[in-house]
């Protein structure tokens, strides 16, 4: 092509030469880019999905040498269950219809291990619009995927750890609340607390808010709901750890906590609980206590 351009435009040889040289360098630069890209597998597939070109990045990520993979169908990069579901064909179909197809999922290396891959398939068409093949770019995002999974798991664990319900005496449960109470946590606390009350046949539940930095209207309402639910079961909730700051907030908010027994310290709450149990468990002649045990 360069030569014919030269022949036709003799008057301006330097400009043509320059353009040709630029074209050549650009093409070379692109080849260098593809060859040196170690973090991306850049693969050319023919129209049927067989590997036509394979860059060193592909070898690093997928493990095949170009000599052993060229001519093979790209479905071998998919786990068998994905192949059964027709995923490889689907990708090519979408790319053919829409020009590209992007996806994330587990893919197989040569040694059979899996990696989490982000891939884009682009349909390659010539100027006439005829499909010549597909370009596939893959990235190994396994580490990011694992980090995400770990973060999700930890978030769930934190929620679980942060709402423990402990039996501290026969018939007395305690739920030490630490940190900010949002709707989700309070809901979870309520479920756990009620289940534990039934399980352990506990008549008193101490809700300790010593570790709660601030209480807003919604939190206060959630706590009020929880104590109501506890009462419906036939047990009683005592709110403990009401520090001066919390007491001030509650009074200013005007939240109705009228039915709830509250105490400033956990120790005071425990005394209330023991009193309540004595009233319930020890009848006039003391036989009630024996019966209960």
């Amino acid at each position: 092509m360069t030569k014919s351009t030269e022949a036709n435009t003799l008057e301006r040889p330097s400009a043509a030469n320059q353009a040709g040289a630029v074209l050549q360098t650009t093409a070379e630069h692109f080849r260098m880019l593809v060859d040196n890209m170690k973090d991306y597998a850049i693969i050319i597939l023919d129209t049927s999905g067989r590997v036509a070109s394979w860059n060193p990045g592909s070898e690093t990520i997928l493990g095949y040498r170009s000599s052993e993979i060229i001519g093979q169908h790209f479905s071998r990069f998919f786990p068998s269950e994905e192949v059964q579901r027709g995923k490889p064909e689907m990708e090519l179909k979408v790319a053919t219809a829409e020009g590209r197809s992007e996806d994330e999922g587990w893919r197989m290396k040569k040694d059979g291990s899996r990696f989490w891959s982000n891939q884009v398939i682009t349909a390659l068409r010539d100027q006439g619009g005829t499909l010549c093949g597909f370009g596939k770019v893959m990235r190994d995002l396994t580490e990011r995927k694992r980090a995400e999974e770990k973060a999700t798991l930890q978030a769930r664990e934190i929620i679980e750890i942060s709402t423990p319900v402990i039996q501290i005496w026969d018939g007395i449960l305690m739920a030490p609340l630490v940190g900010t109470l949002d709707s989700e946590r309070t809901q979870q606390l309520m479920e756990r607390l009620l289940e534990r009350i039934v399980e352990t046949d506990s008549a008193v539940a101490l809700l300790d808010v010593t570790g709660v930095p601030t209480i807003d209207t919604r939190t206060a309402q959630h706590l009020a709901e929880t104590t109501t639910a506890v009462r419906l079961l036939g047990a009683q909730a005592v709110l403990t750890g009401v520090r001066p700051a919390i007491a001030q907030t509650l009074a200013h908010l005007g939240v109705d906590l009228g039915n709830i027994t509250t105490r400033s310290t956990l120790a005071a709450g425990l005394r209330v609980a023991l009193n309540l149990l004595n009233l319930q468990m020890v009848s006039g002649n003391g036989s009630g206590r024996k019966d209960a045990q």
Binding site: M190, V198, A203, A229, V230, R231, L232, G234, Q280, G284
Partner: protein
């Protein structure tokens, strides 16, 4: 027919009322009449209403419980509700159906204790 699913047994001076698992409105309506009638006939001192089989409690049922409690109270008896499941308690709370001042107990045993020790409890400081 539905009325027969409701069981009212008299144990000494207490009426033990057990609700069926899935009470329809007719059964719930029958609850009030039959309990009040039994109160009159037996001069019971109180009623234990066991709903441990019930897995969903609607607003009609909740109102009926609160009402019946008040009526039994007017006839000189106390009502103790027992066996509310955690899931039912959560639903009731979220719907704002707190059953008024109805006394609740964790188990039938405790409900009987509450009714039996009622007078003694009042005398305690």
């Amino acid at each position: 027919m539905s009325e027969e699913r409701l069981s009212i047994i008299k144990v000494r001076d207490i009426l033990m009322v057990t609700m069926p698992a899935d009470p329809d409105d007719a059964t719930v309506s029958a609850l009030q009449e039959r309990v009040l009638l039994a109160m009159e006939r037996s001069t019971a001192r109180g009623v234990v209403l066991d709903v441990s089989a019930v897995d969903s409690l609607d607003s009609f049922f909740a109102r009926m419980i609160a009402e019946t409690t008040r009526m039994v109270g007017l006839m000189g008896g106390r009502t103790v509700l027992t066996g509310i499941r955690p899931s039912v308690a959560i639903t009731l709370t979220q719907l704002g159906l707190t059953l008024g001042k109805t006394r609740t107990a964790l188990s039938v045993d405790r409900a009987f204790e509450i009714l039996r020790d009622g007078s003694q409890q009042v005398q305690k400081p």
